[in-house]
């Protein structure tokens, strides 16, 4: 740039500023930039906006609203409803599914949603091997019979497959647009796909909204997708504002700066001035659990008796009182209450006598020391540090001394997977409606994450031989029989006491009175197209 130009540019800026000053004075009474977007306050924990890579709560919300799944979940959080697939049928043993796509469905660029997009999306989800790739584990092939028909073949019977494809991570991507931006579904996609950065700035779905803007640690902005016709979208602009803590979320809501606050904990909810707010506390499908790892490197002896003793030593009511101010429910098994197989499970109870008795029987009447690391974070309104300290106190009553170390979540993940952590706490939220995912995550059988974390490789004795068979049975059956299989699986997991769920925190749905249609969905967390402003 020449000097002359430079000077001119500088004087231009000065002029602009002067102009700004003058107009500012004349416009003084005007209010802040009018922006009638609906504002949602929540902690944005996005790890990716690529459906094949992202795996987090905010991602779940984002994918549900920007991409459409083949099958949806009804308002009862149990029935499946048509979405991209107008209809579907399964073969007799539930190992092959045929989806007939809605011919009217269009992506945000106006092109129709076709079978090839479904095939591409599912293959990419599987091949990128990202966070939600496990959803595609049962799938052996996806075939586009014609533009409107997709046939998915599974490796075995799976009665939960329809629930799986209702998970937001299985939302269908516009394959042409994405492929043009470096995305690929090929077998080596995990190394050759270059589209992750593109997905941070663009969306290619058929959902009610499209991505308007994403600024990490700041905001995630949506705007209505004009091509979306399935439901009536009432609000054209929605922004999720990154708001880390519950107190700030509450403040934003109270001051009218936010319309919905998603992570207000029950303690904070009590302090809310509810004059202009709707505050509803409902049971959630999320739960927090204590996990024991008998096979961890530094673990003391953790026989089944000792594990059960620990189960009896915990003060479940106290935990709920302490962590969520009483706003939570007990969860007997590591499957959320209300999911298949959970009705009629025995409620956990504290019984110190029995705990001591079991410890004596196991040869450790005076207790022992055990190391515990926990992720230093707040999940679903529960401060894990608080929870761990409460557990530390409870166990001290039966002579078990817990040495606590808080670590960052990523470190915790690394440790829990590596040498294992003898005693820890963690949390789980459903990816879709269905009980199999819990068995596949918590069950004591070869290959599940918690079997590995609990040290199943060092101590194969913790395996529960019945699990694999029962799961197979559950997946191949339906109705009563399926319910019974899951029930038995749940009882088995309670008996194992590797995973001891301690609290299912209630969810606080807080919004301004203007907002209607706010509800909690088991698959998708928040469905924005149902929202409206009065």
């Amino acid at each position: 740039m020449g000097r002359q130009q430079h000077v001119r540019w500088a004087s231009l800026k000065v002029a602009a500023m002067l102009y700004a000053g003058v107009t500012a004075v004349t416009l003084l009474p005007s209010t802040a930039a009018a922006d009638d977007a609906l504002v949602i306050a929540r902690d944005i924990d996005i790890n990716s906006l690529d459906p094949a890579r992202g795996f987090c709560d905010t991602c779940q919300i984002y994918f549900s609203n920007v991409y459409e799944t083949l099958v949806g979940l009804g308002k009862d959080n149990a029935t499946l409803t048509p979405r991209l697939a107008a209809s579907w049928e399964a073969n007799a043993d539930q190992s092959q599914f045929t989806f007939n796509l809605d011919p009217g469905a269009k992506f945000s660029d106006g092109s129709p949603v076709e079978a090839k997009d479904v095939k591409w999306t599912f293959e990419r989800l599987k091949n990128i091997k990202g966070g939600a790739a496990f959803l595609m584990d049962p799938v052996t092939s996806v075939e586009a019979k014609d533009a409107q028909t997709v046939v998915v073949t599974l490796s075995g019977p799976n009665s939960e497959f329809l629930n799986i494809v209702s998970a937001p991570y299985a939302g269908i991507i516009n394959s042409d647009v994405a492929a043009a931006s470096g995305a690929t579904a090929a077998a080596d996609a995990e190394t050759t796909d270059k589209a992750e950065a593109w997905f941070l700035a663009n969306s290619a779905g058929s959902g009610p909204y499209v991505l308007a803007n994403y600024k990490p640690d700041d905001e995630l902005r949506f705007k209505a997708n004009p091509e979306y016709k399935r439901t009536k979208v009432a609000i054209s602009d929605i922004v999720i504002k990154h708001t880390k803590d519950a107190v700030t979320q509450a403040q934003l809501l109270e001051s009218g700066n936010a319309d919905i606050a998603m992570q207000i904990d029950p303690d904070t909810a009590k302090t809310l001035n509810t004059e202009n707010l709707n505050v509803e506390t409902i049971p959630s499908y999320n739960f927090l659990y204590v996990a024991l790892a008998p096979g961890a490197k530094t673990a003391p002896k953790l026989s089944k008796e000792i594990r059960q003793a620990i189960g009896y030593a915990l003060d479940y009511d106290g935990i709920i009182e302490f962590t969520v101010g009483g706003q939570g429910t007990k969860t007997p098994a590591p499957i959320p209450n209300g999911f298949p197989g959970t009705s009629g499970l025995p409620e956990p109870k504290q019984d110190l006598e029995k705990a001591k008795e079991l410890l004596a029987k196991a040869g450790v009447p005076d207790g022992f020391e055990i190391d515990s690391e926990f992720p230093n974070m707040n999940s679903y309104g529960v401060d894990l540090s608080l929870l761990s300290q409460k557990i530390q106190q409870d166990l001290s009553k039966v002579g078990i001394k817990v040495n606590l170390t808080p670590v960052e979540f990523s470190v915790w993940r690394d440790h829990v997977r590596g040498d294992g952590i003898p005693l820890t706490v963690s949390f789980y939220a459903p990816d879709y409606y269905g009980s199999a995912q819990y068995v596949q995550f918590f069950g004591m059988m070869e290959g599940t994450p918690w079997f590995n974390r609990a040290g199943g490789k060092n101590d194969p004795s913790i395996a529960n031989p019945a699990t694999a068979e029962l799961l197979k049975k559950a997946l191949a059956s339906a109705g009563e029989e399926q319910e019974k299989a899951y029930h038995e699986l749940a009882l088995g997991m309670i008996e194992d006491r590797i995973i001891i769920p301690v609290v299912s925190p209630n969810l606080v749905l807080a919004s301004s009175k203007k907002v209607t249609g706010l509800r909690y969905s088991a698959c998708c967390n928040l469905l924005m197209d149902e929202l409206a402003l009065q």
Binding site: D267, N376, D383, Q393, L404, V407
Partner: protein
């Protein structure tokens, strides 16, 4: 003399009162906390990690500073917290001084390439803003009070190394040292017997003045979540726990005032010390 009496309003006294008062206050505050550290076990207060009352209770007669989210007594936790803050700062300062002055003494005494290399390391370390360096180190080593201490030693040693090197350089050329070398004293003997005793005082003074800063940085690291682990009643992590329960202001108040008073105490001492040693203000 006449110039000193000129108008600017600068009155000079032989031993100004203000110079002594802050030092006394500083001694008082630090003395109190040291006493707390030594005797807190015998105080009639609750156990700092036991849940002794209902949670989140505002200050009352039974719990002067209220209770926290786990129903623990904030006063008791604050008093017990003194141990962690003061002991940790002590350890950090001692190790930083030992390591720093050893390296500085060697650099200053040996000179040449060793000096150059060590001093470049000092320069580079001092080029980092302390908190970023401490954060990077604790993040790498993993959170925890011990690792935070290591991080802070890494942050602080270069300061003493530089100081000690300067001292050694200035003392080294004095006559009695040169005489000792001429008389055939070994290097280690010369360094230990003739040089170090003369080089200590500025380092000690600096260490006192840095104490408050170490307390602050420890608490900061804990506040970010890179320091002490629960249920340790460490002030920084107490404030960070309190920040979650923002409306229950009393959870933060105790540890906050504690940090403020300790740092203030050391700053008072440091200020007094500086005034004493600065010939200008006498």
């Amino acid at each position: 003399m006449a110039e000193n009496l000129a108008l600017p309003g600068v009155r000079r006294r032989e031993w100004p009162k203000w110079l002594k008062l802050p030092v006394l206050i500083g001694f008082g505050i630090i003395g109190f906390w040291v006493l707390v550290c030594l005797s807190v076990d015998f105080w009639p207060i609750d156990n700092p990690i036991d849940m002794v009352a209902r949670r989140l209770q505002p200050p009352s007669f039974d719990h002067w500073f209220g209770t926290d989210a786990l129903g623990r007594d904030v006063l008791s936790r604050t008093l017990h917290g003194a141990r962690f803050s003061l002991m940790m700062s002590c350890a950090v300062i001692i190790f930083a001084v030992l390591i720093g002055s050893t390296i500085g003494a060697i650099a200053g005494y040996v000179g040449g390439f060793v000096d150059g290399a060590l001093m470049r390391l000092v320069d580079v370390t001092l080029s980092f803003p302390p908190i970023l360096l401490a954060m990077a180190v604790t993040a790498a080593l993993g959170p925890g009070l011990e690792n935070a201490a290591v991080a802070m030693i890494i942050v602080w040693w270069p300061i003493y190394a530089r100081l000690m090197r300067g001292q050694v350089l200035s003392v080294k050329s004095r006559e009695h040292v040169e005489a000792a070398v001429a008389a055939g004293a070994s290097h280690s003997r010369t360094l230990l017997k003739h040089i170090l005793p003369l080089s200590w005082s500025p380092i000690l003074i600096n260490a006192t003045m840095d104490f408050g800063q170490v307390v602050l940085l420890t608490a900061s690291l804990s506040f970010i979540g890179l320091g002490a682990s629960p249920p340790t009643p460490e002030w920084g992590s107490m404030i960070s726990e309190g920040a979650i329960h923002f409306y229950q202001w009393w959870i933060c108040a105790g540890p906050g005032i504690a940090i403020l008073s300790v740092v203030l105490g050391f700053n008072f001492l440091g200020d007094g010390l500086r005034d004493l040693l600065d010939p200008r203000s006498k």
